[in-house]
C-alpha cells in the first residue's frame, strides 16, 4: 500500500558483486598502514544521506528504518561503513531512483576516470 512499507531485501546482483572481494576498509587499510579508522568516502556518503533527507527524497527516519532491516539481513556480515553505503544504494535502486544498469555503467565510467587520473 504505502511506499514506506518494508524494504525488499532480495539481493541486488550489482551490490552482491561488490562484496566478498576483501576490499572493506578494515581489511585494506592496515595493509597500507593507513591509520584513519574510516574510509575517505565516508563523509561524502554522509553528505549524500543528508542531502537526500533535506530534499525530501529519502528522509532520515525512513532511510534508517530500511537500513535496520538491511543491516539485520542481507548486509549483516558487512562492516559498518560499507554496509551503510550498500544499504543506501540498495534503497535507491529498490525505490527506482536509480536503475541497476545506470549504476553499473556509471561505476564503470568512474573507475576508468579514476584509473586514468
Amino acid at each position: 500500500m504505502s511506499a514506506k512499507r518494508t524494504i525488499d531485501v532480495g539481493p541486488v546482483a550489482l551490490l552482491e558483486a561488490i562484496q566478498h572481494q576483501g576490499k572493506e576498509w578494515d581489511v585494506i587499510a592496515p595493509r597500507y598502514g593507513v591509520t584513519n579508522p574510516n574510509p575517505p568516502w565516508k563523509s561524502s556518503l554522509t553528505g549524500t544521506c543528508e542531502c537526500l533527507s533535506v530534499g525530501g527524497t529519502l528522509p532520515a527516519l525512513e532511510r534508517r528504518k530500511a537500513e535496520d532491516v538491511l543491516a539485520d539481513s542481507i548486509y549483516r556480515e558487512v562492516p559498518a561503513p560499507e554496509r551503510d553505503l550498500l544499504a543506501l544504494a540498495h534503497i535507491l535502486l529498490r525505490r527506482g531512483l536509480v536503475t541497476e544498469s545506470d549504476l553499473a555503467e556509471r561505476m564503470h565510467t568512474v573507475r576508468s576516470r579514476l584509473q586514468a587520473g
Binding site: I28, S43, L85, L103
Partner: protein, 260 residues
C-alpha cells in the same frame, strides 16, 4: 560547469585527510592513501553523481554537508564538559540553553544550512549527572545523536542490539561496557526520539583538582558523553571490552528461519 563542480569531491580532494579538524580526539598523522581503487569508493561516487544528475540535490549542497561531516567530532563535547566543570557560570548557561552555550566552544547547531541538519536540529540539552543520577542516551527509533558535539555516531550506538536492549536491560548493557553502578544510583535513560538532542555531563571525577580544562577534556571521552562510561584520570580513549551480549536480539532472518 567543470567536471570537479559537477562531481563534487574528486579523489584528490577527499583523500589524505591525515588531520581531521575536531577529529575523534586523536590527530591522525598524514597517512598514505590506500593504493587501490575499491568498488566501494567507486560506488559512492557513482551514486552521488547519478543523484545529482537526477536533480535530487546539488553538488554545492553535497559539498557543504560533506565538509560539515568532516569537521564535527567529539573534541567539542569534551571541551564543553571541561568548561562546565571549571566555570560554574558557564555551566549555568549551558543548563539553561544548551544550543546557545555551545557557541562558546565554537559549535553552532545551525550549521551548515542556517537551520541545522535534517537529523540534528537545534534543540540541544545537557543531561547533568549527579552522584545518585546517571544518564545514558539512546535513540530506539533511528539512532539520533548530537553530531555537532560528538561527531558521527559509533556503529554500536546505531545497532538494533543497543537500541532495543538499552531501554529494557540498561544495567546489563552498561555492564557489557564495563560500567556497573549500584542500585542506589538512578539510571535515567534518555530515548531521544524527537528533535531534542542530548549529551551527558558526567560528574567530575576525584583526583582532578587543579587540572586545566585541556587536561580535563582529555578524560571526557565520547563514551562518557553518551553515558556508557565514566571519566577517570588516566582514561583518555574508549576501548570496548568484548563482552558478548547475553540476550542478543534475534534478527528477522533468524526468526524466519526458525519458523520454517
Amino acid at each position: 560547469m567543470s567536471a570537479a563542480d559537477k562531481h563534487g569531491h574528486e579523489r584528490e580532494h577527499a583523500h589524505g585527510h591525515g588531520h581531521k579538524h575536531g577529529g575523534d580526539g586523536h590527530t591522525h598523522k598524514a597517512a598514505p592513501m590506500v593504493e587501490e581503487i575499491t568498488d566501494y569508493e567507486v560506488l559512492e561516487i557513482a551514486v552521488r553523481e547519478l543523484a545529482i544528475e537526477h536533480g535530487l540535490f546539488t553538488a554545492e549542497d553535497h559539498r557543504k554537508f560533506t565538509e560539515w561531516a568532516e569537521a564535527v567530532g567529539p573534541a567539542a563535547g569534551s571541551r564543553l564538559v571541561a568548561k562546565a566543570w571549571t566555570d560554574p557560570a558557564f555551566k549555568a548557561r549551558l543548563l539553561k540553553d544548551g544550543t546557545e552555550a555551545c557557541k562558546e566552544v565554537g559549535i553552532d547547531w545551525a550549521e551548515p544550512t542556517g537551520f541545522g541538519t535534517p537529523s540534528d536540529y537545534t534543540n540541544f540539552r545537557v543531561l547533568e549527572d549527579t552522584p545518585t543520577l546517571h544518564h545514558v542516551i539512546v535513540c530506539t527509533l533511528c539512532s539520533c545523536y548530537p553530531r555537532p558535539l560528538l561527531g558521527m555516531s559509533p556503529e554500536w550506538y546505531r545497532s538494533t542490539n543497543y537500541r532495543r536492549r538499552l531501554v529494557r536491560w540498561p544495567r546489563e548493557v552498561l555492564a557489557e561496557f564495563g560500567l556497573i553502578l549500584p542500585p542506589e544510583v538512578e539510571i535515567r535513560i534518555e530515548d531521544s526520539n524527537q528533535k531534542c538532542r542530548f549529551m551527558v555531563m558526567p560528574v567530575r571525577p576525584q583526583g582532578t583538582d587543579n587540572w586545566s580544562e585541556e587536561k580535563l577534556a582529555a578524560i571526557v571521552t565520547r563514551d562518557c558523553m553518551i553515558g556508557v562510561a565514566l571519566p577517570r584520570p588516566g582514561r583518555t580513549t574508549d576501548i570496548h571490552p568484548v563482552h558478548k551480549a547475553r540476550r542478543p536480539v534475534q534478527s528477522a532472518a533468524q526468526h524466519a528461519r526458525a519458523a520454517e
